[in-house]
Structures are given as structure tokens and as C-alpha cells.
Symmetry: C3
Subunit: 274 residues, 3 copies
Amino acid sequence: MLGKMLENVREKTPLVHNITNYVTVNDCANILLACGGSPIMSDDIGEVEEITSVCGGLNINIGTLNERTIRSMLAAGKKANELGHPVILDLVGAGASALRTNTAKKLLEEVRFSVIRGNISEIKTLALGGGTTKGVDADVADKVTDETLDSVIAFAKAFSEKTGAVIVITGATDIVADSQKAYVIKNGVPTMSQITGSGCMLTAMTAAYITANPQQLLEAAAAAVCAMGLCGEKAEAVRKEQNAGNSSFRNYLIDEVYKLDGRMLEEGARYEIC
Amino acid sequence: MLGKMLENVREKTPLVHNITNYVTVNDCANILLACGGSPIMSDDIGEVEEITSVCGGLNINIGTLNERTIRSMLAAGKKANELGHPVILDLVGAGASALRTNTAKKLLEEVRFSVIRGNISEIKTLALGGGTTKGVDADVADKVTDETLDSVIAFAKAFSEKTGAVIVITGATDIVADSQKAYVIKNGVPTMSQITGSGCMLTAMTAAYITANPQQLLEAAAAAVCAMGLCGEKAEAVRKEQNAGNSSFRNYLIDEVYKLDGRMLEEGARYEIC
Amino acid sequence: MLGKMLENVREKTPLVHNITNYVTVNDCANILLACGGSPIMSDDIGEVEEITSVCGGLNINIGTLNERTIRSMLAAGKKANELGHPVILDLVGAGASALRTNTAKKLLEEVRFSVIRGNISEIKTLALGGGTTKGVDADVADKVTDETLDSVIAFAKAFSEKTGAVIVITGATDIVADSQKAYVIKNGVPTMSQITGSGCMLTAMTAAYITANPQQLLEAAAAAVCAMGLCGEKAEAVRKEQNAGNSSFRNYLIDEVYKLDGRMLEEGARYEIC
């Protein structure tokens, strides 16, 4: 099932419009190509509606946002909604500033999202109207543990119910939930948090997965999250073998996404459905 | 001959001003350094004329353009013309939005280009006033095949005649043409289209080549295109040997440009002159 | 002593706010993670004061500056001063345009810096009101040699006296000086100047070092400079062994920063105190 999601990406080469931060944009483009999608980046109000119209899906990421790009996010999001394109929101840094929090809220009010991704602090900020985001990392107080897992799952389902979006909460354990069902995913390695952009890259890749599988948003998002974590595990094995560091790890991670096929994903995905 | 073009770059260390997109800008800077040039990136209207004045050549790339940078492209382009500096235009995404198409047209009206590079759809958009660009990739309908090669060469020569620029059309087969003569280049590997920025990087490198060889624009551009394709072939061999993916391929590609010398280019360039 | 500076970074995970250029921003984020810090990038006037407030230190880099980001640099710098956060300035390209030179001067007038970094031409531009910066590289006329070393050290100490900042002049020989004391550092390899961003990355890393060691700015900056140069040496050994080029070198460099510990730094640092 998850493998089929991946294969649909490779088969359909979904074209994804990205309005994203300038920190990790190159990695997002390369991981989209690695997974079988095709990226286009564009953030000017003068073209975003037109660009999103020629694409199949839209990825909005609020890192390094500014007044100019916020307008473009809203315009592109509405256009994508009109056209019935899947739209994903990455909450990077929500809670770290009022501008990010308010932009995220405004986007949620004005745009219908298929998927919303963030760490637990970012998602809480958006869902509960406040949070304790420490920069772009989740706050320790928000950490998902065995003790809190059930309540986080219930929280994710409720937030999905409220927004209509699949909710993706990433961390040591990842949760992918719609209002009825949650994937609790154990793939991944800590080194993924020692590079910039593993969250942004996951969101970009998820955009390709949901664009290629618009009728199965939950499964598509879960497949993307498992794929990313699994490729992180594979990349970590290479990193250790090569005695390399985080920069090479980033390359290995994208490389593993490039090499991953449906069978490998089926075999390597580690999740429970709750 | 082509080898000499490369050697002139290494000898003269041409300083190239780049107004380019934020997706592949780091790769463009590193490939400029790899080939023997020196990059400076600057896009604010308050400094672009001054920056271009201290450089030897100018690279304008319309990816992720916006109203602010469009003004800077025009101002820098005119200044470079005044100073007699080679100027190159990368048409990334022309045809995908009216903003990109119109900006490309306006640039062509107001700035004299030494070289214009794009895929066949982008070049057709600019030359014929319309096109079928699919995002930033060439449309299948526009594909250059053995059957269409002669007509594409004639088209490129005619567009060079009209614009006064050397025309570089990249794809599985690359065409580099002035009004009289065309290089048909067979170097390169498909993996080059599985990373972001191989086009942008080629344009940046070509900027260094034409800046170091201003009296031989056609040969300089052809040398850069052969060099890029040849390095792609070498990088692909490394990628396969290492069982790596597209992200490492990007590094290997720039690495090979770093290692390439004139003799290697002479031996590896595969082209016909038509 | 220098090793302790490094260990404090790993222990405290300083959160660093970066207002930096879009060319090397990804490398800056990854090297901050590699050395044990945590990066956040943000440049909109609507959030920079708030973002810098949740961080421990601020890194201002004037590459690819524009009117919008200049305002943000000033606002964030003043806020960081209010809060007593260490602030570092990277002078990339000062002297190459009036906009960069004047922005650097204005920043120096309105913001109190803990550390100022540049090549010799950039620092002279700021200190003497004029310079001979060639793009983003130091001018040959400004080169620090055995003959000029003493006068450059005196110049650095005097500029530190005047500004209250630790002055970091990087080149084949690096000088890190306050008004009383200078580290003359011999670590490093020429390949570091064949990638984009080795200066920017050093400044970002120095931001983490001074944020984690606010009472020992001189030693912290010297430790960061030694660490960067030493990691360059280690990366160069890997590059040669792998027969790689500048792009892989960039990854190896960040990898070595990731792997460096206090003992390795103590053993590998090569400097004299003058």
C-alpha cells in the first residue's frame, strides 16, 4: 500500500509549486527530483497563481517569510483550492514570532490544506493558539513520549477533524493522522535533526506524494514520512561507514530517496495504525 | 580550440556578476569557482550597476524573479552593455508564466545579450512569442530528435541572426549557434536533469567562458556546454561506482568541473559543426 | 583553553539568529548545526526583533543585502544590543559597492558589535573609509605577508580599540585581535577560497562560539578561526584521498566541524599570540 504511493509518484512525475524559504530550497528541489516529482519555485505575486495552475500541487513553507511572500502564499493557496490541487503547509518556526504564528493562522483561515506538517510545538501553536517553540526546534516540554503518545494522537485527530487536513507531527516518533486514523511511525534517526531542512524536505516530498495520490491523502502522507525516515536510516548507515558528518549525511539522505523503490519502502516502513 | 577557451578562464579568473534565483545560487557560485572564475551575487537596484562595473561579465537568470530583481536585471544589463561586458540570459521557466515570458522579452528589447540559454521550449517561447513550457522542463512536443534536428538548428541560427546573441539550446542534444554556424553537442547524461540547477550552472559557467573569451563567443559557449556535458559523464561514472543518487551527483559534477583541464576537454568533447 | 570554547558550544547549543545572504545560507545553517549550535534564519522587519529575542546571539552578514534586509539588520542589531546578546558582523563585499560600504558603516554606527570579520580589504574599507575590494575577494595589494604582518596586527588592535569589537581578518594568515592581544593563526588551506561561503560559514560558527562564551570573546573567536582552518586541513586530506573537487570539499569541511572535539582542536590549532 505505502509502496504503491511511492510508485505513483515515479509514474506520474507530479509537478509541485513551492513557495518556500531560501535556506533549504535547494534541498527541497533536489528531494522532489529524487522521489520522482518535478519542482518549480516561484513566490512573486505577479506569477504565483499562474504557476500553481500549471502544477499539480502546492507546497507552502513559512520559513524566512516576508510581507511580499505572505501575499503570494495566500494568493497561490486560494488558486490551488479553486483548482482542487492538494496543498500542504509547513509550519516551520510557528510560535517563534507573532508574524509566523499569525501568518499560519491566516493561511489556515483562508486556504483549505490537504496536509499540515510541523513539530509538536509548531502544531500546538497553530491548534491551541500559543506554544513554546524554541526557534525552529520543538520545545522539550512538548516532547512526544510513550506516556504522552495517546494524548498526542487524540490531539492530532481532533485537529484534523477541525481543519480537514491530514496532520503530520514529526519528531523521534512521527504521527500522521486524519480524524479517524493515525499512523504512528518509528522510522528515522537523530542525525536528521542535525541537518537543516529535514522537515522542509519531508514536506516537499509529501507534496509530491499527495499530488500523485490525491484520493489517499492519509496513506500518501504516511508513505512519505516512512520513506523519509527509512532513507534517514539508510543514510546514517552510509555516514557511519564513511566516517562522515552532517553535510554528507544530507547528500546521502537525498541519494537514498533517489534509490528507494516501492518494495524497499514496504519492507522498511515501521509503523502502527491507531 | 575548446581546450584553449577553458584555459583562458583559469588564466584570467573572470569576475562574474550574477543576478540569479535563490534555488540554485550556491551551486552557481561553486561551479564558477570550480571552472576558474570568481562569482559575485548581487540583486539590489542600489548596487547592481556598481557591482557589474567591477566585474567582467554578467549572468542574468530569471528563475524566482520578482518586481525588485527585474528592475535590477534591466539596470545591470544596460550598464554591462555600456561597458561592453558580455551578458548572458538564462530563460529558466520562460513560458510558464506571463511574468517570466514578458520579463524575458523586455530584457531582450532593452539589453544586448552575448548568449541566450534555455531548453527548446523556453527558447521557442522567446523566439516565437508563445510556447509550451511545462514548469521548468521542456515540453515533450518540443523535444529535439534526429528528425527535427535540422529544423532546430535553422531555427537557432535564425534567432541568433535576429538577436545578435549566441543561442544555446540544451537537452539530450545541445545546440550552440550563431547566425552562421552551429555546434551540435552530444556530451551529457540524463542524470543531469535529475538535479536542480544543471541549466543554471551551465549558464553561470558559460558566463565565465565568454568573459574570458570575449572575441570568440560561439567557441567559448560551445566549450562550456561540452565541458558541462563531459563532466556530467564523468560524474555519472563516479555516481554509479559509489551507488549514489542525485544529490551526490551534483557534488561530483562540480568536482569534475574543478578537475577538468584543456586537454581533457579536447579529448572528451563530442560535437559536430553544422 | 580553545578546546573549552568548543566544548561550551556543544554543551549550551546556542541558538543563533542569522540575517545573511541567500548564497551560502544553507551552508551557514549546516555548519551551525555541525559545531553544536542551532540556527534560525529570519530577515523580515515584522519579526526580526522577536526572533533575535528568543536567540542567544545574532549574525549579520551583508552579502546580497537589499533595502528590506538592511532595515532588518539595524532593527535586530539594536534589539540584540538591548538584550546584551553577542552580535557579529560579516563584511562580505564591503568596498565593492557604496551600498555595502555605507551599510557596513551605518551598522557600525548604530549597533555595538562583539566581533567584526572580513578579509583585509573589507576590514580596511570599513576602518579607513576606502579600500580596494575586488568583488568578494581581497585585493592583492592588501595581502598580508611576513613583511606587513606586524603593521596589520597593529591596525587590527587599533580598529578593535576604536570599535570595541574583536577584529577577525581572514586570509592565508588569520588575525584575531582585541585592543591588547592578537592571535596570529596559521591553520587552513587554499582550497577554502575555492568554495563559496567559507568566510560566511566561519562567521556563523564564530557567532555560536561567542554566544556560548560571552565572557571570552577573543578566545572564543580565535577558537572558531582555528577550528575552521583545522577542519579545512582535515577536509583537504579527505578531498585529495578521494580525488574530489571543491563541491565535495565543502561537505567534508562541514563534516569535519561536525566531528571536531576539544582535544582535537587543542592539538591541531597553530597560532601565536602577539
